[in-house]
């Protein structure tokens, strides 16, 4: 047992053009994708936009063993069809202001707007509903997951800067948060690869109490309570108030604590991709590390059958009760009638993880660091909450807001506090309050801006993302489509496309195909060698 596991993180960014109130969000999101394509083109001289291959997408498969009929699905669940952006859609959006031409139109008149890109680091950058989304490449551990999540923010920022610098376009602001405080929430999903043989009932039962309480070590904080922010007060989590069910397939309505989407993007009979939708997007690197690291450890315990047995009496209500209490003192009731705080429940999971790691000899440095940080964070939060401000995003935000409120003699209902909540998540270093704090050394980091910029263009070396990223960098003109589990090539002289399946997330690594890339073969020789 260790924290090693295939992990990928998704970020849906909030998108706003302040100079164009009411601008169509899908259009703005498409601008972001096309602007990034333009910046890549400017640097490398080729188009990095690649059609997404939807062949293996199955968003209506339920991990509990059935498939939801398409006719009963909410339209937003149909993520396996290419979104189209045309006059009709703009018209359907009623009061929205059309944004005008896109960067892509400007440079390639007559061609379609890019809605999807596969990046040289193996990530996917695309328009998801009404938000630009970055889905990180597959990584093998929480530390790399943090790096490639941060790389997404770098990509998004590059796109926003390109838009800002382009004549005829108004600046587009991007926010790494999860709600507009006006009823809408958008996610920061986590994906963890698991063996399929682990019973889903067991996964859900053990994860629910963990997810209900995990927020205290890694959520991002929010001003306002209720989906509409209609009640005042600071709360721990961005997402908590938007959850209404314990287990379910949906991600946009009736959101469940444990999501059952069964779309492994890998060999179906071997793997499950646990799709976690409950987390907050984090600017902070340590919060992201703890979010993914502790979850990875709990999944390992579930797989080994050593996860603690805790059952909450009312998990959905408890999720919100805990989020609404930044003193961390509130207790929730277990089905065995015990009353415990979120810290106490987290401590039970940590103790079990420590014991399990000791028994299984998991003494690798990464696992030990996650255990140490988990312990330290719970201890600090239990004694002096604000002392955790350097590593826990909601605490850092709360402390900054409290200082501002004190200084100006205002309460948390003041619009300036609401603005701080929003601007905390502005991804521009000169405007984002997280970045303003980090620049002063007030947020602990794992990676430098240079390392993050490098990760935005370089794939991880130890997953199939290496193959995906490198073919896009080395053979961009021949890659006609890509997905998590395939890449399709057009080979000169060949009558049909060559589709290379990548159903094993831990193949396609540098170790396995690095030399083949370095040989710099023609695309035909490259493909024929691959297939051998």
């Amino acid at each position: 047992m260790s924290v090693q596991r295939v992990i990928g993180l998704e970020t849906e960014y909030g998108v706003l053009a302040p100079a164009m109130p009411g601008a169509n969000a899908t259009m703005l999101s498409a601008q972001v994708i096309n602007a990034y394509a333009a910046s890549i083109r400017a640097g490398y001289g080729h188009l990095a936009g690649t059609r997404w291959d939807y062949t293996d997408e199955s968003p209506l498969n339920d991990a509990r063993g059935f498939t939801q009929p398409r006719t009963e699905a909410h339209p937003t669940q149909l993520t396996d069809i290419e979104p189209e952006l045309d006059a009709e859609q703009v018209a359907l959006d009623g009061g929205d202001t059309p944004v005008g031409s896109t960067l892509y139109d400007q440079e390639n008149a007559g061609q379609e707007v890019l809605m999807n890109m596969v990046l040289g680091n193996g990530a996917r950058l695309y328009v998801d509903h009404a938000h630009p989304e970055y889905s990180s490449p597959e990584t093998t551990n929480p530390f790399d997951a943090v790096l490639y999540d941060q790389a997404g923010d770098h990509v998004a920022l590059s796109a926003a800067r390109t838009i800002e610098a382009t004549n005829g376009f108004v600046p587009v602001h991007l926010y790494k948060n999860n709600t507009d405080n006006k009823s809408v929430s958008y996610g920061a999903h986590e994906n963890y690869l698991m063996p399929r043989h682990v019973p889903f009932d067991s996964i859900a039962a053990h994860l629910i109490p963990f997810f209900v309480t995990r927020q205290i070590i890694c959520a991002s904080g929010r001003v306002g309570r209720g989906m509409l922010g209609q009640w005042e007060g600071f709360q721990i989590s961005q997402r908590a108030d938007f959850f209404e069910a314990q287990v379910g397939l949906e991600t946009t309505i009736r959101r469940p604590i444990v999501n059952t989407r069964d779309e492994p993007h890998a060999h179906w009979e071997k793997y499950r991709r646990l799709h976690v939708i409950i987390g907050d997007a984090n600017l902070g690197q340590i919060s992201t590390l703890l979010r993914t690291g502790t979850t990875s450890l709990v999944l390992s315990m579930i797989e080994a059958g050593t996860a603690p047995h805790i059952e909450l009496r009312d998990p959905v209500a408890d999720l919100q009760t805990i989020s609404h209490d930044p003193t961390l003192k509130v207790k929730v009731e277990l089905t065995d009638r015990r009353l415990l705080t979120g810290l106490e429940i987290q401590r039970i999971y940590l103790d079990a993880a420590v014991e399990h790691c000791a028994k299984t000899g998991a003494d690798d440095a990464q696992t030990q660091e996650i255990l140490r940080r988990w312990d330290q964070t719970l201890s600090t939060l239990g004694t002096d909450i604000f002392a955790a401000a350097k590593t826990v995003d909601w605490v850092a935000k709360y402390k900054l807001m409290s200082g501002y409120a004190d200084r100006h003699g205002i309460g948390f209902t003041d619009p300036r506090i609401a603005l701080m909540d929003l601007q905390w998540a502005d991804i521009r270093p000169e405007k984002g309050l997280y970045y303003r704090l980090a620049e002063r050394g007030m947020m602990e980091t794992l990676y430098t801006p240079e390392q993050i910029a490098h990760a935005a263009i370089t794939p991880p070396e130890d997953t199939r993302a290496y193959f995906r990223g490198r073919v896009l960098s080395q053979y961009p003109e021949h890659v006609v489509a890509a997905s998590w589990d395939s890449v399709s090539f057009s080979v000169p002289g060949a009558r049909k496309l060559e589709r290379i399946a990548t159903l094993e997330p831990l193949r396609g690594t540098k170790k396995l195909v690095g030399e083949l890339f370095d040989a710099d073969l023609s695309i035909a020789d490259f493909i024929s060698t691959l297939k051998r």
Binding site: N181, V184, T327, D414, P415
Partner: protein
């Protein structure tokens, strides 16, 4: 979830919130935060109320 149950819990949490505000005041002071508080009004967008009201998003996952 009904609005009633939500409000009831909020009241409970609000009481606790008052308690934390007490303990919080003593230790929000530190150099980095103070330094940022000095410049923050120049960093924040103009017209807070209007800016926040204008941040309207469409549905997401």
């Amino acid at each position: 979830m009904t609005q009633e149950s939500f409000s009831a819990r909020r009241t409970e949490a609000e009481v606790e919130q008052e308690q934390v505000t007490e303990t919080v005041k003593a230790n929000t002071q530190d150099a980095g935060v103070d330094d940022l508080l000095d410049e923050i009004d120049g960093v924040l967008e103009q017209n807070a109320e209007e800016f926040v009201r204008g941040f309207v998003q469409k549905g997401g996952q």
